[in-house]
């Protein structure tokens, strides 16, 4: 029992150190890696970016600040207008600054937007309000075997409305329960597109409330993979409703007959990759940003690729730090993650530099043997060395701290002596 207690005490210290030390080390030695954002220049017909080497195009040519801005007339519209340099036409197409402003739309989906807790209550706004602006609903809905509207005022179920909407959804072919839902219940948006829902058969439906009545449209689009998230973005361009994210793809949901336009991505991982979509009067640019590579694809107005460019994220500045991490810590327990809003507690090994990890563990084992021999004039047990081989620095601290069971002394008594009253 006491042996188990000792193992448990060691585990507590190993567990907490593995939770805390790597994070502290990462903060203490943090290095900023800023991979530049890619923009597609319709003027130069190539990608441009602003990185640590200044402003460059995708062929490595350096651009002056003015040339860089002129190459992105829609992005730097305001500056160019102020300087009187906004072009009358770009790539042979006549443009105005007003049109440029209207046609700029930016969507971004990151793992933290996908991995986010859901409250289970949603607010369906009136899509065609009486007034000029959208208004808050007085109820919220939940999804289960049907759709249920709950009045916020008295926290009661609005049976009549719930039945009406459930019937409308069933009539449209919706199969409960819903698997995914996306919408933007924000009254500051210009108009309301309601919610997009994926039903039990993985089919996409569009639900709105028009003058108090349900409007449920079966888009006829069915996914062969689970839908991870639906992003709805009400924008004056009204070209697309938003994006649907599955396990391996991102689709733009076109306003033209709910067509699904698959974005050109490579090995998309919704739990790691960030996707950006920037539209302008002439192009759409899709950017896939993974921890190791940034990949940009410029598309024309028909969503056909016109140019691709990618570059590796320079992790050089982090290399020394990662080697040191491997030397110090054989693994870590992640309790914070840039990829999720959930609180994680996951095991992650430092395996990028295995020789460094092995060296770190070996140093810990040798150090323990030396200290043990100095204190107890004997050799530590095999299981202690085994523990050190797995837990490295954490195990070393834990073994030193917890001490031995069958002895009246611990290694720490080399430096710390108990004030023992002697008779």
């Amino acid at each position: 029992m006491v042996t188990f207690a000792r193992i448990s005490a060691i585990s507590v210290i190993v567990f907490v150190l593995a939770m805390v030390l790597p994070g502290l080390f990462a903060k203490a030695t943090s290095v900023r890696i800023q991979a530049p954002i890619l923009y597609y220049s319709p003027v130069l017909e190539r990608f441009v970016m602003q990185g640590k080497n200044g402003m460059v195009d995708d062929q490595g040519n350096t651009l002056t600040r003015h040339r860089y801005m002129r190459s992105l007339p829609f992005l730097y519209r305001a500056n160019l207008v102020k300087w009187g340099q906004f072009p009358k036409e770009v790539a042979g197409v006549p443009v105005t600054s007003g049109e440029a402003l209207r046609q700029m739309q930016f969507l971004r989906i990151s793992p933290r937007d996908i991995n986010v807790p859901s409250f289970g209550l949603h607010m369906l706004l009136e899509s065609e309000p009486e007034g000029a602006t959208l208004e808050m609903a007085t109820d919220m809905f939940r999804l289960g075997a049907g759709i249920e509207f709950l009045r916020c005022g008295d926290n009661t179920l609005d049976r009549e409305k719930s039945e009406r909407f459930t019937k409308a959804m069933l009539k449209a072919g919706f199969t409960f329960p819903a698997r995914s839902i996306g919408g933007t219940p924000d009254v500051r948006k210009p108009f309301d597109w309601g919610y997009f829902l994926v039903d039990a058969t993985n089919t996409l439906f569009h639900l709105r409330m028009v003058r108090g009545k349900p409007l449920c449209i079966n888009t006829g689009r069915r996914f062969d993979q689970p839908v991870r998230s639906i992003l709805v973005s009400e924008h004056e361009r009204k070209e697309f409703y938003g994006m649907v994210i599955t396990e391996s793809d991102v689709y733009v949901l076109s306003c033209d007959g709910y067509k699904l336009i698959r974005l050109p991505l490579s090995h998309y991982d919704p739990d790691r990759d960030m996707i950006m979509l920037l539209t302008s009067p002439l192009n759409r640019v899709v950017q896939q940003r993974t921890p190791v590579v940034v990949r940009g694809t410029a598309l024309d107005n028909q969503w056909q690729p016109v140019r691709e460019y990618s570059f590796g994220v320079d992790r050089g500045p982090k290399e020394q730090r990662e080697k040191l991490s491997c030397l110090l810590f054989p693994f870590k327990l992640e309790t914070v993650s840039p990829y999720t809003r959930f609180k994680p507690l996951v095991f992650a090994g430092f395996y990028a530099w295995p020789w460094w990890t092995a060296a770190g563990v070996l140093v810990c084992i040798c150090l323990y043997i030396v200290l043990y021999r100095l204190r107890f004039r004997s050799t530590p047990s095999v299981w202690e060395l085994g523990l050190l081989a797995v837990t490295g620095l954490y195990g070393l601290v834990a073994l030193l701290a917890v001490g031995r069971v069958n002895s009246s002394a611990c290694i720490f008594t080399l430096v710390v002596r108990r004030r023992a009253r002697m008779g």
Binding site: S408, T413, R417, R418, A420, R421, M422, G423
Partner: protein, 295 residues
């Protein structure tokens, strides 16, 4: 006679410091046994080992036939411990502490406890933490007596007690032990009290036994002789019948387990004039200091 406590070759130390260096002794059933020694002699370490709160580095200590560090709960019922400074649960009142302890001991004698405690003239609702050291000593003694144990181990029972409470404590203890034949092992830093109290004793110094046996036999055989200082006497060391020496400015005291004639013969043989050698009568405290030294 059966040994209630038996310690064999006890060794213990803290770091480099050796506290017990092969201690051997037995405590037989019945009577009061004193474990004596000066500060730092190893008394507390021995008591801690006996009470099961310290494991010796080597050797064995058995109490009521069980290893002292692993005495079974049933056997612990027969051992009454008085901890140094009369520690008890300060948050309990007299009534509560009696009620609490009574549940653990089948031979509990409520009357014994309240008989002793009632003489304190304090309310039975008084918390232990609000009592004086003397009052607490009576409560603690009452608890141990009510437990009706076979063996009592009293660690420095005199600490913090004035002479009145000390006398009260000892009177009760002696009466109780005489009536019931309980075995008591005690330590105290007030040696003069022990003269009338203990039957047998062990005196330890630097972790080793100096004296072991009946107190009256020790007192009868251990003698002090006083001689005027001389050059030859200054060269005298322990050995032969000379067990201990105490040098003063004008005289030197020589201690040994022998009569005047034997000591005189030994000293004369070493060229020490013994014409003025005089026997000095000793109380127990004098004998204790004589054998252990003042320093």
């Amino acid at each position: 006679m059966e040994s209630i406590i038996s310690c064999r070759d006890l060794r213990h130390g803290y770091g480099e410091k050796v506290v017990l260096d092969g201690l051997n002794f037995d405590v037989e059933e019945g009577g009061i046994f004193g474990l004596l020694g000066k500060n730092g002699a190893g008394k507390t370490t021995t008591i801690n080992i006996l009470m099961g709160f310290l494991r010796p580095l080597s050797g064995e200590c058995r109490v009521l036939g069980e290893p002292s560090h692993g005495i079974r709960p049933e056997v612990r019922r027969d051992i009454g411990l008085l901890h140094e400074k009369f520690i008890q649960y300060d948050f309990m009142s007299i009534k509560e502490i009696e009620r609490f302890h009574s549940r653990f001991y089948p031979k509990w004698e409520r009357g014994v406890f309240f008989d002793l405690v009632s003489r304190l003239e304090v309310s039975h609702d008084r918390r232990i933490g609000r009592m004086s050291c003397g009052q607490r000593s009576q409560v603690v003694l009452g608890l141990i007596m009510a437990q009706n144990p076979k063996l009592m181990i009293l660690d420095d029972y005199s600490m913090g007690l004035d002479v009145g409470y000390r006398r009260l404590f000892l009177d009760f203890l002696q009466e109780y032990v005489r009536e019931r034949g309980t075995t008591v092992l005690l330590t105290s830093h007030v040696v003069q009290d022990l003269d009338k109290l203990i039957d047998r004793m062990i005196i330890i110094q630097q972790g080793k036994v100096l004296v072991q046996g009946r107190k009256d036999e020790f007192l009868a055989s251990f003698r002090q002789f006083r001689l005027p200082s001389s050059e030859a006497l200054d060269r005298l060391g322990t050995g032969g019948p000379v067990v201990a020496l105490e040098r003063e400015r004008s005289a030197t005291s020589v201690f040994g387990y022998c009569g005047r004639a034997e000591m005189a013969a030994h000293l004369s043989g070493l060229g020490i004039p013994v014409e003025d050698m005089a026997g000095v009568p000793m109380e127990f405290e004098d004998a204790f200091i004589g054998i252990t030294g003042k320093y």
